[in-house]
């Protein structure tokens, strides 16, 4: 009788395990966001990576408009994903996964923004009795001739203007014009009526126009 080669059998098992794992991940990739989330809820941890891969850039692009700092933004994106994981059992399929995730990200961004604002106020006005202590706005008076440079500065001006909008206006305009979500999704994320969302979007656009003035030419974009 021939004895089975145990070393070969073990490596076969390992190989089979690797193949099964690869198939599982490949299968997960074909699922909808909501189905992937369901897998995560049942304990398939590989589903988490699929969600991260699908949403990392989208969330970063969204949160960057709040932080304006890549490092802070990446920390926020990671925190969003960890919260998604921690509260995975509270997710219900009645909502789109993207909407649910944006809501978590928005809440995190809001609280971080408030914290940062408080810290900026403290550092900018260290001595409230000092009359010399004031904010300076550095104006660039150089006449720009280079189109590329002008475009770069126009983008910077627009992004700076975005930061000056109040929370209600900024969140809707970023979700609509940058993230290109539907009005229904925005209404759900911000917990406001659709009419209010539309109205805020329009007001936010007007405010941005006022903030950037004529500096940014429409042909620039």
């Amino acid at each position: 009788m021939v004895k089975p080669n145990t070393a070969l059998t073990n490596s076969n098992y390992e190989l089979r395990g690797i193949i099964m794992e690869a198939l599982k991940i490949a299968n997960l990739r074909t699922l909808s966001d909501e189905d992937v989330m369901e897998q995560l809820q049942t304990g398939v941890t590989q589903a988490f990576d699929i969600i991260v891969q699908r949403y990392k850039d989208r969330l970063h692009n969204f949160l960057y408009r709040y932080t304006h700092n890549h490092q802070d933004c990446e920390d926020l994106v990671q925190e969003t994903f960890l919260r998604v994981y921690r509260s995975r059992h509270s997710y219900e399929r009645i909502a789109k996964l993207s909407t649910w995730m944006y809501t978590i990200a928005l809440n995190l961004a809001k609280s971080m923004y408030k914290k940062k604002q408080r810290m900026t106020k403290i550092s900018m006005h260290a001595d409230p009795n000092d009359s010399e202590s004031r904010e300076y706005e550095i104006e660039d008076s150089v006449i720009l001739q280079d189109d590329q440079l002008h475009q770069k500065m126009s983008v910077a001006k627009l992004e700076k203007a975005l930061l000056k909008l109040n929370d209600d206006f900024r969140e809707v305009i970023v979700l609509r014009d940058i993230q290109q979500l539907s009005y229904e999704e925005i209404a759900e994320i911000t917990d406001t009526a659709m009419g209010t969302v539309k109205s805020r979007i329009n007001r936010a656009r007007q405010q941005l126009q006022e903030l950037i003035g004529d500096y940014v030419k429409s042909e620039t974009f």
Partner: protein, 99 residues
Amino acid sequence: MTFKTSDDIINEIIADFSECNLSEAELQSFSELQDKNLKIRRTAQSGIRIHNMLKRLDTKGVSSRFDQRMSAKFSLELEKEIQIKNAKLIEENQKATTS
């Protein structure tokens, strides 16, 4: 019951106009309104302008180190979860043996 003010309605229409979401009939009525009211025309034009500018802003994606950091944080999270589960099991076992 709440009612929309005329300002809200105009704002909603301008938002739809800026994204080319008005029906033909709505567009015709709105064009007439713009002819009569310069302020509305200016507002509608800047709405289109800002919408297009924002749409064309560069996408800011994550850095190349993101995945590595994310998987490290997730591993810690899983570890923490296991520790909590284990602690619960030990507690339950202890309760069972004492009773």
